[in-house]
């Protein structure tokens, strides 16, 4: 019952987002077919607008759009007329997701590790160094970090290619650049959560019972401390796998990030809608999965329709 209700809510959420985007998008001034060389005779322009249903009243356009959306047909891009929005999303999402997953893995492994180590060594040198790294990770923006990585790893030392896409080597630098800030956030989050947990009475009890440090930390400490972290890695994960404009631009990654921005500048209506819906679907689905995953991480949480 809970799951059915959640799925319904998800559908409504996506519908609301699609509707809002659709109407807001039409309000922006500018014409997808306009360019500095206004060379299309009005008669030809008419044909083009017809192809994209742009000459219909907005309400009709909206209904037509929803009709296609239900069958997962997102239409064709206006900018690249031979490419369907589905194809653009599929191509771009593959590269973006690969990058995002790698970055997420790096951020999780090293972020959690740094956070736990810092917490266990509270107010000692390891703690300070870890938090120093975390602060750098948070405060250095990716458009500074990325060129620095390129400068050293690619240009000075020639270890990795500067940019472009194709082999696994090409994905290393962008993954690192993308991972830096979430890594730092996770580390800080994990540290404070861990500190709180380690001061709980049940930890003391376990310690007093003579449990080994490793078991104590892993079974009782981390398992409890990780819960608040899980709640925000969901949205973080969505953010990472749906592409980032800056990193993808700097490393020439054929991801989806640029379409979020370029489609708006080009008034490429089908692509604006496509990227927005794509992002919202992934977001609501991930949030849903995260909610379910709580159930397994913490058996105390029950999935009820009364709310979580």
């Amino acid at each position: 019952m809970y799951i059915v209700k959640r799925i319904l809510t998800m559908l409504i959420t996506i519908w609301v987002i699609a509707t809002l985007t659709f109407f807001v998008m039409k309000v922006i001034p500018g014409d997808p077919f306009a360019s500095d060389a206004d060379v299309l005779p009005p008669e030809v322009l008419e044909n083009m607008r017809d192809k994209y249903n742009l000459d219909e009243p907005i309400a009709v356009q909206y209904v037509l759009y929803l009709r296609d959306l239900v069958t997962f047909d997102l239409g064709y891009s206006i900018q690249s007329q031979t490419r369907s929005v589905n194809a653009i999303l599929a191509d771009g999402a593959t590269a973006s997701a690969l990058l995002g997953i790698q970055a997420m893995a790096i951020a999780l492994v090293f972020g959690l590790l740094l956070g736990i180590l810092a917490a266990l060594n509270h107010n000692k040198i390891i703690d300070y160094v870890s938090m120093f790294i975390a602060i750098i990770g948070i405060s250095v923006p990716s458009f500074i970090l990325a060129p620095l990585l390129i400068k050293y790893f690619a240009v000075e030392w020639g270890l990795l290619p500067v940019a472009s896409w194709g082999s696994w080597e090409h994905s290393i630098l962008p993954s690192l650049a993308l991972a830096a800030s979430p890594l730092a956030v996770i580390a800080r989050f994990m540290r404070s959560s861990m500190l709180e947990v380690m001061n709980q009475n049940y930890i003391r009890t376990a310690d007093a019972k003579g449990l080994s440090t490793t078991k104590l930390v892993i079974r009782h400490g981390i398992r409890n401390a990780i819960l608040p972290v899980v709640s925000f890695i969901g949205p973080l994960f969505v953010f990472l796998i749906t592409g980032t404009f800056v990193i993808e631009k700097i490393f020439a990654v054929p991801g989806i990030g640029r379409y979020f921005v370029d489609s708006i500048f080009n008034r490429d209506y089908p692509v604006i809608m496509g990227t927005t819906i794509f992002f919202s679907v992934i977001l609501v689905v991930t949030l849903f999965l995260i909610d379910i995953s709580y159930r397994f991480i913490d058996p105390r949480i029950k999935l009820t329709s009364g709310g979580d």
Partner: protein
């Protein structure tokens, strides 16, 4: 507490995180230099995804760059940029200069080995003109009889003056004689497409496996937003002059990144250098500046005060120091523009732009001040109506606008406002005439003054200034049918002088392209209004 364990883990974290630092000495720049013995290939930067590789649909220079390598028209260009016969072996021109009869080369073949026929050309051109196709460049074919009517849905396809008389004979009838047929037909819109393929597959140009072309190269790979690869077309009739086996167009958009890719050897040719490196690369052998057939300008809306007054428009022209702008602001080798038509048009009397000196608008502060005063008196203004200069949002446009603002302040004592809008909004605003003074750039698709001067025709959809001048329109009309080159250029000069007298705009500079090219290549051609051409390029050393 196993402290040592924790410390070890921590150290490991750090080491893995910063991996690579210690390997510094083991691997210098050798990884960037690929296998030796002069592989005949080149990797260049196309900056962005080509929107469409179908010659009928392409309107942008990136797509055009690739299409120019994969296709060949009836005319093509030689190494000096002169039009010569390409897919056609012979042409007969009728006495009234209206009918051209082309013989398609016997050995002209598509990349799949089938012969290129006159029917392919006829089909390709009529497809461009078909209003259903929605080709944005169809209007370049309006010189052909019946083309405009058909494209605008007012005529029928049978009346279009393109006919395949037999497999190898193509007859083209023009509306009236024109003096630059060869130049016109080198444009990609006039390239042939394989009739039976395109007819049966509307998406033929979207994938390499269905992409059939007749030029020096063929499309073999298209990874969207990443790279396009073209390889030598062994079915090309003139394949012996083609040395490169492979050209890779990468799509790297970030200027610093592609500059570094060039430095590390991942790219062999890049264009549009980041402004901050131009100064340091300027004297390098790899650096090259080529004229780009276009003009950067500010349009005046002649229906909005104060630009309703001709003298004031002229004052705003004369108060600008264009040399200072190109030297200290744009800095990429641009040429100051004193007239509209850019350099690069060769006439019997030399370069068209140089011969326009009579009506140049050069900086003349005294005269500008005086004209401003006179103009204000004519209009009865005590103070000049407030002026806002509009440009589309971009760092470069902003810099130029700020300098011009300063020049007006110093040279005319006029304070103007600056305002900017995002590109598509900007196009909307200027199209509706909601501006006094607005930035625009215009680039000629082929090298002839006509394509530039057409911009300010009374019925040109691009002319946003509300300036309509019958004399100007007439002179251009005459020039379009004039067969004697000397007379034709004379008429065009006359037209341009009318424009420069009335000044519905102020030219700022003529565009250039700048490149860095790896010196191990020779034979790369840099045409005036296109990107580098690799047909004859060759890698001579590693």
């Amino acid at each position: 507490m196993k402290k040592w364990l924790k410390s070890l883990l921590f150290a490991l974290t750090l080491i893995v995180g910063l991996a690579g630092c210690s390997e510094e000495s083991s691997n210098d720049s050798s990884s960037s230099e690929k296998d030796s013995s002069a592989e005949q290939e080149i990797v260049v930067n196309a900056m962005s995804e080509p929107p469409d590789l179908d010659p009928a649909m392409a309107t942008d220079t990136t797509s055009g760059w690739i299409i120019d390598h994969t296709f060949e028209g009836l005319y093509t260009k030689d190494q000096d940029g002169k039009p010569v016969l390409g897919a056609a072996s012979d042409v007969q021109v009728s006495d009234d200069k209206k009918t051209y009869t082309f013989t398609i080369r016997e050995d002209a073949k598509w990349s799949d080995g089938s012969p290129v026929t006159a029917q392919d050309f006829e089909y390709a051109w009529k497809r461009v003109l078909n209003p259903e196709t929605g080709s944005a460049f169809a209007f370049y074919m309006y010189y052909i009889k019946g083309a405009e009517a058909y494209n605008k849905g007012k005529g029928s396809v049978e009346d279009v003056g393109v006919t395949a008389k037999d497999d190898k004979t193509l007859e083209v009838e023009f509306q009236s004689p024109i003096g630059y047929v060869d130049e016109l037909l080198t444009m990609w819109t006039f390239y042939p497409v394989k009739k039976e393929l395109v007819k049966s597959n509307g998406q033929w140009a979207a994938k390499p496996d269905t992409y059939v072309s007749n030029g020096p190269f063929k499309l073999t790979k298209w990874n969207h937003d990443s790279e396009v690869v073209i390889k030598r077309n062994d079915n090309y009739w003139n394949k012996d002059v083609v040395n490169l086996k492979k050209v890779t167009y990468k799509m790297v958009n970030d200027a610093t990144t592609y500059y570094q890719m060039f430095k590390s050897g991942e790219l062999d040719l890049i264009q549009t250098l980041p402004t901050d490196v131009i100064a340091q690369e300027k004297d390098s052998e790899e650096y090259k500046v080529t004229p780009y057939f276009g003009t950067y300008m500010y349009m005046f809306n002649v229906e909005k005060e104060p630009f309703t007054n001709k003298k004031i428009r002229k004052a705003f022209n004369l108060a600008i120091d264009r040399e200072l702008i190109t030297k200290n602001v744009t800095k990429a080798g641009e040429k100051p523009a004193y007239s509209f038509v850019p350099p690069g048009v060769e006439t019997p009397e030399g370069d068209f732009q140089k011969n326009a000196e009579d009506y140049y608008v050069k900086k003349d502060v005294e005269k500008a001040k005086q004209l401003l005063k006179e103009g204000m008196k004519e209009e009865g203004w005590e103070t000049l109506p407030e002026v806002t200069l509009l440009y589309n949002t971009s760092e470069n446009h902003k810099r130029v606008a700020e300098v011009v603002q300063e020049m007006y302040k110093q040279n005319l004592g006029v304070d103007i406002n600056l305002s900017n809008q995002e590109w598509k909004t900007y196009l909307d605003t200027t199209k509706q005439g909601n501006f006094q003074m607005a930035r625009m750039g215009w680039i000629g698709i082929f090298v002839d003054p006509v394509v530039i001067l057409d911009y300010y025709l009374g019925n040109s959809p691009n002319n946003r200034t509300n300036w309509i001048n019958e004399e100007y329109d007439n002179l251009i009309k005459q020039a379009k049918v004039e067969q004697d080159p000397a007379k034709r250029y004379e008429l065009l000069h006359q037209a341009e002088s009318v424009l420069m007298e009335d000044l519905p705009f102020t030219p700022i500079y003529h565009y250039t392209n700048n490149y860095l090219t790896d010196q191990s290549y020779e034979g790369i051609v840099y045409p005036v209004n296109r990107y580098p051409y690799f047909k004859w390029a060759k890698k001579v050393s590693e």
